[in-house]
Amino acid sequence: MNLAFTAEDEAFRQEVRGFIAANLPPALARREAMGFHNDRATVTSWQTALHRRGWTAPGWPVEFGGTGWSPVQRYIFDRECGLANVPEICLIALSMVGPVLCRFGSPELRERFLEPILRGDYWFCQGFSEPEAGSDLASLRTRAVRDGGDWIINGQKIWTTDAHMADYMVCLARTDPEVKPQAGLSMIIVPMDAAGVTVRAIETLDGDHHVNEVFLDNVRVPAGNLIGEPNSGWTQAKFLLEHERTHNAYAGMLCRYVARIPALIEVGRANGLPETQATEYRRRHARLAIDVEALEWSVLRVLAGQPGPALGAAASALAVRGAQCLLRAADLEMAILGPQVAPAFRPEDGVPLPAFAPPAAAGRTTQYLYWWAATIFGGSDEVQRTIIWNTLYR
């Protein structure tokens, strides 16, 4: 057992800090701190800088452009990005589709997609969930039927993050309806500009636009766009979802909250927050910080751990704890700011912050509302609890 950071780890931390300070545009960091989703144009320069440094895809094998970082280095990078208000860039392509292609894709698919994904030229969305297949993913109905050298896809996807700005969808479709639900699925890459693809925005409670409905109406794609073997989509989807198993802990984001809340309490004090309440909020902050510190070490344990059922349970625990902490953190920020968080605020749509609210109030409700989605996406908390029971106790 060796639980300490090494001198090399600390040197790496400084290297990451220096890189971020030199390359992250301040305007992008400010917007990220507010908690709004970014569009592609606003993150381009950051992605380019990452790509130049070779740091775009920590989760990929080195031979395909991964960083070769140790689990601890990956954790340090995520934490520093969280603290410095670095936005997530095209999570689906870099953290999910890329690793699936590295693992299951044909040489042709790797050749076509990996390098453009690293460069930021190709953005992906994830066509998994459907109106009748949310937590119960295996019941999805979108069909892909072979027609000569093509697949013809019909169906509907929903809650599709980034579909409105993606170049491709990685679509989970039923290619064999005769076998049991999990066995007949395949993963197919669909160009979003193909005939028959329609994207409709869904406005979510947080007031932001990130998810969509996607309608697939006789969409024809070449047979070579199917990843790996036909009917192996369930294995690939599981690999994809497990690949970033620590992501939904949002440890870096939580470190950001813990770091900035003390200053926010002072902002509150300057705006009429009584000292007795400030004292209570400092206490809540300390309690949150203790849980976030534990969560960070849970992330390290999962990153460094040997794959197995216990690791799966630990990852599920992380997802639940992460969402709980995010809601506590965001709720604490709203509490500190009091009435200043009530007005709507959408800078892009000409809805400015009212004069009485300090700049730090921008986006606080948006982000709080968004974290309720974290109790749902990537497998709802109840799905995670069932995984824990089934893997450890059943």
């Binding site: 639980l3 534990a294 960070e296 344990r301 029971w389």
Partner: protein
Amino acid sequence: MDFTLNSEQTMLRDSARRYLAQAGGASWQGYAELGWLGIAAPEDAGGLGGGMADLAILAEELGRALAPEPFVDGAVLATRLVDRLVVGHRREALLGEMIAGTRRLTAALYEPGRRYELAPQTTAVRDGGGYRLSGTKVLVMDGAAADDLLVTAALDGGVALFLVGREQAGVDGRAYRTVDRRDCADFRLDVTVEADRLLSGDALDAVEDALDEARLCLCADMLGGMDSAIEMTAEYLKTRTQFGQKLASFQALQHSVADLFIDADSVRSSLLRAIPAFGGERAARRKAVSACWVNTFETAKRVTGMAVHLHGAIGFTTEYRVGHYLRRAIVSERLFGDVEFHLARYMAG
């Protein structure tokens, strides 16, 4: 960073679990024979020179087994105090007897009406060639069985530590049991001791350092208790039938157990985070230990209480094992500062 136990640590955990399951945990001499009383003692005094990780591994097993012997008080806190503050030949002699289990020491730190304050109101005044100690000490774990007490007393504006024989005239003890049936005692002291019984005139940092080691061991002890309580609960749900089906088939109960795992797993992370802090600077270590204490004991009440609840009425009986983890949680939390005390210490750090 490597979270896996090395071969010695695996052996320590497995052999401890086996021994405690077979023999129970109620033999101090048994602990001595297994070498457990020397884990916290340095090798130059005949100990094993174990680190915080080793201590935590053993403490976790003792907690899992609800072991009643005062391992944390004697083999960790008292041993580390003697190691730090006693010098020369007497240090080796004392540690040797403690490791062999032939001499039991325990620390008398806390006083009535003072909660967890370590600056004592017990006074030490020079008296002839020695010192006269006057004051009261409470919640001295193992106080009735210990041969000697390590007593803090105010001396010349500092905190001094004295070695006081328990059976010496002027040491007036009252033994009792804690809620979880551990032995402890209060002491009224009005006693004169020889000059060489003063171990240190400036012991506060050493007491805090040794206490932090003891504190983390108590957290590990409680973590072992939580894990065991959760496992017992899951097993019980799988055997008990109500409404014509196993309780384990009800998703509400499955999810309740999963929640207990989620919370206890967070405690394990707090513990693993605090262990390397013992290799670093004092302020960071204090903060990490207090963070672990807050998470451990806030969680322990909920986890062990829910374990009782999920068992139903049988869990509420003293005959059944699971409720004893809840009792232990309540007492352990109060031994070296409670959740509120440690949250304040964390915030001040």
